[in-house]
């Protein structure tokens, strides 16, 4: 960085002229330094600065006093609230202003000594001792500023006249400086007086101030009542289009300089405020800012005044008891808890009560509820004009196509026994093909069937089409009439004797007439029926075996039935059972009414009934003989047991 000599010289001349001018014009009101003009020839920058400092210090003192006086002056008050501490507040606010200005200046020095020439027009004293303090904190808070910058756009430059310097962040709606000022106030409320004092300590030394700003401070003219949030209009938010442009007085350069100063200068305040910020504060700030904004935006010209007023209004909140942030939070929490408890203790609304019948809820309350329920039955289709038209279209189309939904009578496929058996022929020879080949053939057959079915219909179609085409072509190219080829007629040949066909009277004939006897009734497995003479011994034996089998089955059936009967109805069952008979016989034998015959195997008598009865006859004859001879009945009749006789 090097001094640009040409520019430097120009600046010095400019500074001198300004200084002289100000001295000439404003010497009555403001008593500045004893120097009547700024001497620049052969003077160092340092020396020029010192001259300016002299002037500015004096002026600053004057302005301080005047501000204090004006603040205490009740005629100038803009707010209806009584401001008891307004003077102190003002003093504080003044100090703050001066602090800001100081910061700004120091920052300026920082910035511009680097970039531009040291001879600076407006800002005066460097404060190197303060620089270090601010610079440290600046770096910490840098990002905040940048965020803010990004969020807000530089819509228009705010006027120089504001006490709070314009920042890059400011736009029509938002003034960073104002916000910070307010934050400062609220912070003081919360933090406590010690910190307030600490704050104040930092900014003890008051630096030079802008002449313009101090003058504008005095212009407390117009007052506007505070608007409620419901009465907001466009005017409140946005400056009227033309007015604002006119208010910009300073040169662009200056504005830019100031913006940058503001940014850097306000960083410190922000850091202070944000560090101890409670969540509630920003909302409050915004709210109060808005309230204050009502005042600002409607009167862009008087914006410079409002800042001081903001200070005053901000200070008024201090009157209420100062509660710590924790206390406030606790209060809110307890309020919430109280609300919830009340809610819980109250009776629940009917919607939450489970099963609610009609009596328990207000009338027609369900109509207001949206209900979900399942439909058990499918809803009937809604008949609209469209549906009827669709149906009619379908019906018309069907009629044209003649696609009736007639019922097709089902036919039971009757399988004749003969044909059924014909299907599998028995081959008694050893098969010529090996097993593998058999399976192979089967597999091929299976696959071929599929392909055959696919081809055939297409072939048929093609054949038909070709036939018809050739027919037409032939008819066209030949002059002679060629009749159509005879279509094979389907002739029904019935396997009936001519007699029955020719007969007029309807004769009911059955299948029997058409089929062979074997096809009607199966042949006897045993072959032809034989007489006893024709039967071979195997046949006879076979018959006997069959007979015995039949008997066996019958007997088994009977026994089974008996058992079942016994189980189901015990009394009935026991009447005819074997066990019962045996028991009875025993009883009789005991009693002596019946006697059992023992089978010794000698007698032929017990083997057949014929033998038995013939013997009996002989016996009787003998007896009669005896009886006639002796009339003795020596022989007792033998008891015949049922068991012994094999009947």
């Amino acid at each position: 960085i090097s001094v640009q000599d040409g520019l430097a010289a120009d600046f010095r001349v400019l500074t001198k002229t300004l200084y002289d001018l100000s001295k000439a014009l404003g010497s009555n009101v403001v008593r500045g330094s004893p120097l009547k003009e700024l001497v620049i020839e052969n003077f160092d920058e340092e020396q020029i600065w010192q001259q300016l400092e002299l002037q500015n210090n004096a002026v600053l003192d004057f302005f301080k006093k005047s501000i204090a006086r004006d603040a205490s002056d009740e005629d100038l008050c803009l707010f209806s609230d009584p401001e008891e501490n307004s003077s102190s507040a003002e003093a504080g606010s003044d100090r703050e202003l001066e602090e800001d200005i100081m910061e700004v200046e120091t920052k300026e020095k920082d910035v511009y000594t680097k970039d531009k020439t040291k001879a600076k027009e407006k800002k005066s004293k460097p404060k190197e001792n303060k620089l270090q303090k601010y610079s440290d904190e600046d770096s910490d808070v840098d990002f905040d500023i940048e965020e803010l910058e990004q969020q807000t756009k530089i819509a228009k430059e705010t006027t120089l006249k504001k006490i709070q310097k314009r920042s890059v962040v400011d736009d029509k709606f938002f003034k960073l400086a104002e916000m910070e000022a307010f934050l400062e106030d609220v912070e003081k409320e919360d933090v406590g007086k010690e910190e307030e004092e600490e704050d104040i300590d930092y900014f003890e030394d008051i630096l030079s101030d802008d002449d313009d700003d101090e003058e504008e401070e005095l212009e407390n003219t117009d007052l506007k009542p505070v608007k409620s949030s419901r009465d907001l209009t466009y005017k409140d938010f946005f400056d009227p289009v033309d007015d604002h442009d006119g208010s910009v007085t300073s040169t662009v350069e200056d504005g830019q300089e100031e913006d940058e100063d503001n940014i850097t200068g306000n960083e410190h305040e922000e850091s202070m405020s944000e560090a101890e910020e409670v969540d509630e504060i920003p909302t409050e700030n915004i709210g109060s800012k808005e309230a204050s904004k009502k005042v600002t935006f409607t009167l862009p010209d008087d914006s410079e005044i409002e800042d001081s007023i903001i200070m005053q209004s901000g200070k008024s909140i201090d009157h209420s008891e100062i509660k710590s942030s924790f206390e406030k939070r606790q209060e809110k929490m307890s309020a919430k808890i109280r609300n919830l408890e009340e809610e819980l203790l109250e009776e629940k609304p009917w919607q939450l009560k489970g099963e609610v019948s009609g009596q328990k809820r207000p009338e027609n309350s369900l109509l207001e509820e949206t209900l979900l329920f399942d439909h058990a039955v499918r809803m009937a289709p809604v008949i609209t004009e469209e549906t009827t038209l669709q149906l009619e279209d379908i019906i018309k189309q069907r009629i044209l196509d003649e696609a009736w939904d007639d019922v097709v009578p089902k036919e039971k496929p009757k399988e004749e026994a003969f044909e059924y058996k014909k299907r599998i022929t028995l081959d008694h020879e050893k098969s010529k093909l090996s097993l593998a080949e058999i399976y192979e053939q089967e597999y091929l057959k299976l696959n071929q069937q599929k392909t055959e079915e696919e081809e055939n219909p297409e072939h048929k179609e093609i054949q038909e089409m070709m036939d018809s085409l050739f027919l037409k072509l032939d008819a066209l190219c030949n002059f002679h009439f060629i009749p159509k080829p005879p279509v094979p007629e389907v002739k029904i040949v019935s396997n009936l004797p001519a007699v029955s066909m020719e007969e007029v009277a309807p004769v009911a004939f059955s299948d029997a007439a058409l089929l062979a006897p074997e096809e009607i009734k199966e042949k006897n497995k045993a072959g032809d029926v034989k007489t006893d003479a024709e039967k071979t011994p195997t046949d006879k034996k076979r018959e006997r075996r069959k007979k015995k089998l039949r008997k066996r089955m019958k007997l088994r059936e009977k026994e089974r039935r008996q058992k079942l009967l016994e189980k189901m109805k015990p009394e009935q069952g026991t009447k005819l059972s074997k066990k019962a008979a045996a028991a009875k016989l025993k009883k009789l034998a005991k009693e002596g009414k019946a006697s059992l015959l023992k089978d010794e195997g000698k007698d032929k008598v017990l083997k057949s009934s014929q033998a038995f009865f013939s013997q009996l006859q002989d016996q009787v004859k003998m007896q009669i003989k005896d009886a006639t001879q002796q009339k003795k009945k020596q022989q007792k009749e033998r008891n015949i047991s049922v068991q012994k006789l094999k009947l």
Binding site: Y420, K421, R423, I424, L426, D427, H428, E429, K430, S431, S434, L435, A436, E437, I438, Y439, E440, E442, L446, K525
Partner: protein, 186 residues
């Protein structure tokens, strides 16, 4: 997949009565095993075993089982062409049972039963084979059936009926009915 680890082997013992048929049909046996299944096969003269082994060219590990079954079928008495079906088709099985498993028969009854199964000139056996599409080997009291699962069942039922004493005509009727029903399904 190539063989993993050591090569696997199977051994099929050959009874003396099958030794000569094995020698005669050796070409027909080892060709499909080596060419189609990519296995190594040899007949160990000392132990009288046919040994089959996998090698590096073997692609399918199931081939070893197939080859072993093929050789076993031949050894049991089936023809080479019939046994070959085992290699070509996956779902063929081999079932063996004894006549005395069905019904305890002794002496003449046993012989008669076997005679019933065989029929005159092998007629009955061939009929069963043709109708059920199986192959049957009747070795004294042992019966071996080769075919697919359903067919084996049909043949087995028929043979059991014969053992139990049913006349062949009856058995024909039954198997015909069953076979036609089975064929209908497909």
């Amino acid at each position: 997949a190539p063989r993993q680890g050591g090569g696997e082997t199977r051994r099929v013992p050959v009874p003396a009565n099958r030794y000569t048929p094995l020698k005669e049909n050796w070409m027909k046996i080892f060709t499909p095993v080596v060419e189609h299944l990519q296995l190594q096969i040899r007949f160990n003269l000392k132990t009288r075993n046919v040994e089959i082994k996998t090698c590096q060219e073997t692609k399918d590990i199931g081939a070893l089982t197939k080859a072993a079954d093929f050789v076993k079928a031949f050894v049991l008495g089936f023809q080479v062409e019939d046994a070959l079906a085992l290699i070509r088709l996956d779902d063929l099985f081999l079932e063996s049972f004894e006549v005395t498993d069905v019904k305890p028969l002794k002496g003449d009854h046993l012989s008669r039963a076997i005679g019933r199964i065989a029929g005159k000139g092998g007629k009955t056996k061939f009929t069963i084979e043709n109708v059920t599409r199986t192959r049957i080997v009747l070795a004294d009291t042992k019966i071996h059936i080769l075919g697919s699962f359903q067919n084996i069942k049909m043949a087995r039922t028929a043979i059991c009926n014969l053992i139990l004493g049913n006349p062949p005509s009856k058995v024909y009727g039954n198997i015909r009915a069953v076979a036609s029903r089975a064929a209908e399904r497909f």
